[in-house]
Symmetry: D4
């Protein structure tokens, strides 16, 4: 199971895409709101108990001075994927990106693109697909769809420029 | 008493300036190493017990994805001063600055300039000088010294350009 | 009493949040417009007389080449909190942030996030709460509310994703 | 087994840290030079055959317009970790970071900090530790070491400031 | 013939300007969608066969971590013009610009301004006009039109300010 | 007479170039240290009395949160030229540039390049040369020298590449 | 007389403010469109003949890779004021600012804030006011108006917060 | 023949790489110093006569507010390749890059990486190789060398890690 957390309900419109793609790829997830700055104790407990509760990968999204992914990573040994959110209080997303990406040695966060929650979901499934051949096949199928969507675009292009 | 903390011993060469100016201005301090990412539980305990242990202002320095000042501020009601440190793993200091400055509503960190530990020390003493007229006088005296150092510079300039 | 100043009436929509949260936390404030560049003499007088007029912390907001917080800090020994305002003439807020944050040694400004006036208000009250246990209790209560608002968000989330 | 690749021998001084920490954590790795721009066909073959050759996670480091991690990720369904290298032709590392991090929807790269090869290694091992309790225990032990190194720093600090 | 490619149909509104100006200058072009990350094998084939199919210059537009221009350039010896597109997933265009411009030694991409597809088209025609005096004359005529459009602007200005 | 001021003796190595070129162009200058943050009252007096003391243009250099040029401009009606200095406490010069350049409507500062004190000196002389034909001729002669220095470079180049 | 030029009619909405304030301050101006890139020969002629045609200061506005101010400055000995315009093809204004501000030694451009045409106009008048006491008085009066507008704002503020 | 120009002899250490690779690829070049700001008339003449003098591609290198490539492109219909030079007066290269890259519609400059003179040389040869099969073969051979240099690196790597 993938655990998806975010610092505020306002991040849901971005983070929903992680949940959607994980579901589409046939993997379970749970979703919760955990704020590094407003519920620090809940955050520590979430991270400490994640593995025993059956969570295998954590996706954490946050904006501005985004401490949630890094702090969760400091407490658990599970891989943590960080989604920099371009929140309303962010300076064009640079604060979100840098405060998630630039973690010190010893405590990695797997950072994806600004607002890249969909990719966070795919990445989480890729981690689960390392040993699971069924998931790996689903991912290979997904890659083919990406390619065939480009074929559809080419068809659309041909119509447009005629 | 001012509590000075930093994420790593490598930050000491910057943070020492905070200690020095606080001492120079006649105020007590204690200094410790508390890492948000390597000792998260110690960090929470430090922040939770700071007020009762007699600490009145906390100065926290960190570099890169610098979560220490903001995380300490999330746990205590004391004012927290953040010093962005241009550490070896920082991208020209931008990550340190943004991950300390851009805190979300509800949890402020009083941020000073990159490597501005001396100003963090002065700011801490200014907070203590709000109600304490003796400290306020020391600060007024310090301001006069700043001005007279400029006079010394003018003297030096006159010699240089003669 | 907290003194709130800003460089232009156009900054009021941002700075009002400082006033509101200070009032909510039970502390008095006064509010004024003081421009570093258009009323430099009034600015110097404001800063010189602030302590004797009963002001204990100054919050100064400005945008673009934002000199007001730093210049006020150069004249008073009170702590000065700077709010970088993303004004219409600002380059994405970077000028506002850097011209407030990057003060030289000797003259600190406690800088908060871009448009972070609410946090400036909370920080001012935290400074007053150092020695005042009643204010400290109000702040502890405020922190609990932050946490319970996250609980409300979780309830909302559960409804949304059902 | 973790596959470590880089675009040039000049990246080895950064990427060696990934190899070292993976070895320290008891996991096998292989290391190779694969250039997106100078050996594009070899790159495609590397990525296409990685899973069948027993590679479970790929770590790819590159600098400047760093296309290696993203291009490898476009061909394989294995998780790919990207290490932005601050190479001699990079503009302060910004090009390396952005050209690895900002991948389009569908093709994630798990990006770590600039020159953060050590964290890439740890992250790779964390992925392998999702299902492997022995590796998970090694990681938990590693986390304890991080914490005890801070204790050593505190001891050093006490000596320094005496 | 000029070959115009882009990573997604969403780039067409920018890239259309390249096609339009090439046509206006009397040169043939073909246009296609080729995605570095979703159709990597098609991309390699496109680049490998471009010269023999009669393409003389390739214009490639992409946004975010924009790998298409550089990867095409790695496979062909034809000149490749890169158009950084400010796509919806881009951080203000910086990622698009840097991941196209900052190519390593040996594999140049002729980069034009952000969203500068029109200039990419003109540049492609300039390359074809090196040896072709008819095209060179068309370009000289085009330059005169640029100048006479400024004359029209002056007329408009005179009316406006009267 | 041109008045040259700077915030600290450490800026002299940059600002000396302004003095040197003004002298070379045959114009008088005076030089002083005036700090916006350490001697705010002296700064106001300097600016208020500059015109009556015979100063016709003011050149002000400062680094970091560089308030000196803008504050002087707020008090005088003389043209003020600002030199952003890349001081030791500056973030790569961006703070110096932005806090001088981005002045609000009503109070201009004529900003030159980072560390561009020489150009500040030339610009000051150009202002004095508006009505003074002798100075204008000196400037025309200076322009010829710039051109003939390029001729010297060409000679040097020919030797180098032989 | 002040000469105002811009690279395109689309810059007029910004540059009009320069004309308006110059007129308001009682000084003559002429306004024209001169493009560095589309009418380079006209640009050179404009700059070469400006002084003899009675122009005393040139204000040049341009956006993107903004070469007009610097190129005009390379040909004339008159002071040139550069206005970086945030044009539609600009990357958040950074290109406009840097390509005007960062002139090499020998050829200064007096740069004002992004879109700061009004300040360019005031600066031009300040240059003319160096020797002209009537203009200097007008400027002193203008400064008083700036100050009294702040008084009006204070009145408005008092009404708002009642 | 390729024409290589630069704004100053100090750019030669970067621009020499363009000359060297052009020679290595068997193409003729001439090299000169032409400054946009110090020899504007020479620059116009250089560009106006380039085609008739047998120049087929122009490579122009400059730093800071780098106007040389764009201004040359405004006068000639030949393709112009711009090399942003990280000169001593540049702000980390950003001014050089943006003032060359961000050309307005109608006047393209083929921009290469910061200090990317070698790639400028290769790109110029690629343009000449569009119609010239002998040059195209030389370029294909050069690409093979790039690939075999990676093989050499792999051999070196194997030795290093044994």
């Amino acid at each position: 199971m993938v655990g998806i957390i975010m610092g505020s309900i306002s991040d849901l419109k971005v983070m929903q895409e992680a949940a959607d793609v994980i579901k589409e790829l046939g993997v379970d997830y749970e979703i919760d709101i955990v704020s590094a700055h407003r519920t620090p104790i809940k955050m520590v407990e979430y991270a400490q108990t994640a593995r025993e509760r059956g969570i295998k990968v954590i996706i954490a999204g946050a904006g501005g001075a985004a401490h949630l992914p890094g702090m969760v990573a400091s407490v658990t040994t599970l891989p943590v994927i960080g989604v920099p959110v371009k929140s309303s209080n962010s300076i064009d997303g640079w604060d979100s990106v840098l405060s998630i990406l630039q973690m010190p040695s010893g405590v990695p966060v797997a950072t994806v693109a600004l607002n890249g929650a969909k990719n966070a979901g795919i990445l989480a499934v890729q981690m689960l697909g390392i040993e699971n051949s069924s998931i790996a096949e689903t991912l290979a199928e997904y890659k083919k769809q990406l390619s065939s969507k480009v074929d559809d675009m080419v068809t659309e292009l041909k119509k447009t420029i005629q």
